[in-house]
Homo-oligomer: 376 residues x 2
């Protein structure tokens, strides 16, 4: 058993657990910083550890294109390649094929697409995506899925969901028929699809549960639908997914989305918000978001989040970071990114503590009130 | 006495010493990384300490424009502003006025120029440049000088050198008439000018020595003249400058320039090479320069400099850094910068050790042979 449930909130579906991998244990709920191209932008692995990051995510699509499987295989996988020795999750690349590449053509076999880098024609299949993730050596692999647009009609989503199930079956079979290339075990999660249609989500969840994955992701969310629709799907999924397997909400999200999803039983999250917004000078604090590019911080020598106690708040002032951003110094982007990673790690770590103490819902309400009233 | 001479090379003018400041002792010879806008580009202060940087340089001109004296004064100086608690040297801004600003007009009073940022008209005088450096709180201040082009004729250089001496006198007087704003002492160095004209350099050096500065810089070098001309001026300066004061060669330079200048009695160096070339993927190793953007390192999993033992070489491979540069990840620039800072700190630290051991010239010859034969 890779996942051990530790405590559950008596008044919601929130829960804590430990997900064990060949690179260490992950306390859940957990937020996973995104390191698309084998680098969490501007930050070194030892700095991620200092922010108490337990697991990071890299993107199969990007790594497949550059540096490519050949180089990653020679490196002995992404862990030694990037010097990250903690747990690593890779997405399947499916989402990136739909969002980044051109001329994609989906068939029963897989998806053919034009590389957004050099225009070459490439194909992802459920099998070769598992092979690539064997080469990457991620602790947690995701199977190829199709992620339909939130504007797709019910019929498209139904057919797409069925294809994703057949692909999941092939991925599951190929995963069982192949072995890790390095000296650590790998897990394979399933990804439910079905848009915001309860019956299609239920079909998807049931089929995937029958295939017995190591964990279950909810895919195709936060693609434009109202948050309430997403919460409804999470509540439904909660009744369908096995209690003793980890649950991952892909690509989510804001602090509010994350806490509402934790309340609905989600254990794992990833999102580009901390890194992407950090690069734009937007920082997250317990009292709300701030745009540190603003001139109003030019003479504000207080820390980004007074009393937060992380590296950035202990060493630098708002005025200094604002100066760095104002004159285009790279260090400004890096410090904002570090602050945001600290914040998101704090968010899920604190949620975990509050669930264990039985005060999750009260804490969540109080935190969100203060956060939303904040300085943004 | 701020400077204590420790050992001298019996076969050259090379020497070691300790320069004491209110923020700590600096073993010399020493290389000073450049942090133009109160940030050594892409690197945090604690990382500079980890590379054994003893002192850094920031630019008066840039800080005067942004964030400006008002904000730096409110911050309590640049040390707390940027969280650097080691020794800090500031140039006078004179060189930047000549190289960056437009419409500069030099008069007896000072230099009037148009800001390269917003076009406003500003004036630097020997007195207000001292005042600005009082506000910055640098441990070592430089007086306003004029740095003529290497193409200037002898008559221009003569007149300019005389003006620089009169400005130095005013700076010295203003320095004595004012006090530090914070709780640490400040020093003021003199800057010799005179181009490559021995008699003008001698006049400049003698006049400055009479003014009794805390140390002496050779300015206006490495501006296009042949290296041999620079070495000749350093040899001349050696005979004119007091033995028990530190000597600083401004804006120099390559490893070869630095070692040849150490041989001629120079104690301090600053240069943008490690940071600027690092941002372009060029790294310095004991075996020569390398351009890590090159595809030839795509599958080279060895460290940048095998056995060098610094942070970058302990944790990352050439192939990984090449990948980061190849996909435009900020971390690539940062790792190259860190490598280069490590290298330049190693260079002057090793020179110091070899001078103390009495083997400086042999080591220098062997090192340069290997370095120049290298991978560049």
């Amino acid at each position: 058993m890779n996942f051990r449930l530790q405590s559950t909130d008596p008044r919601s579906a929130a829960r804590t657990g430990i997900l064990s991998t060949g690179h260490g244990d992950i306390p859940t709920p957990v937020f996973m910083p995104v390191g698309t191209r084998a680098s969490v932008k501007s930050v070194e692995p030892h700095e991620l550890l200092e922010q108490e990051a337990h697991i990071i995510l890299t993107n199969t699509y990007h790594l497949y294109l550059k540096p490519g499987n050949h180089i990653i295989r020679k490196a002995g996988g992404v862990h030694p390649f990037m010097d990250w020795h903690g747990p690593l999750l890779t997405d399947s690349g499916g989402y990136q094929v739909y969002s980044l590449s051109e001329l994609r053509r989906i068939s029963e076999e897989g998806v053919t697409f034009k590389s957004h880098l050099d225009g070459s024609m490439l194909q992802f299949t459920p099998e070769n995506v598992v092979d690539t993730q064997r080469i990457i050596g991620s602790d947690i692999m995701m199977p190829l899925d199709e992620c339909p647009s939130s504007k797709a009609d019910r019929e498209y989503i139904r057919k797409s969901g069925e294809l994703t199930i057949r692909w999941a079956e092939r991925a599951r079979r190929h995963f069982s028929a192949t072995a890790p290339l390095y000296h650590h075990p790998q897990m394979l999660f399933g990804i439910t699809q079905g848009g915001t249609h309860s019956d299609l989500r239920a079909l998807s969840a049931k089929a995937l549960v029958d295939l017995d994955f190591d964990g279950y992701a909810t895919g195709g969310m936060a693609v434009g639908e109202p948050a309430e629709e997403m919460y409804r799907i999470l509540e439904l999924s909660h009744t369908l997914l096995p209690e003793h397997k980890p649950r991952y909400l892909m690509g989510v999200g804001t602090p509010e989305n994350i806490l509402n999803a934790i309340e609905r039983g989600i254990d794992m999250f990833d999102c580009v918000i901390p890194t992407r917004e950090g690069r734009n000078g937007r920082v997250y604090t317990r009292k709300g978001k701030m745009n540190l590019r603003s001139a109003k911080y030019a003479e504000d020598f207080s820390p980004v989040d007074e009393g937060f106690g992380n590296h950035v708040c202990k060493h630098y002032s708002r005025a200094y970071i604002r100066h760095l951003l104002n004159v285009g110094e790279i260090l400004g982007l890096k410090l904002c990114t570090l602050q945001n990673i600290s914040f998101f790690m704090w968010l899920t770590r604190t949620a975990r503590q509050r669930i264990e103490e039985g005060s999750f819902l009260e804490w969540k309400a109080g935190f969100l009130e203060e956060f939303n009233r904040g300085e943004a």
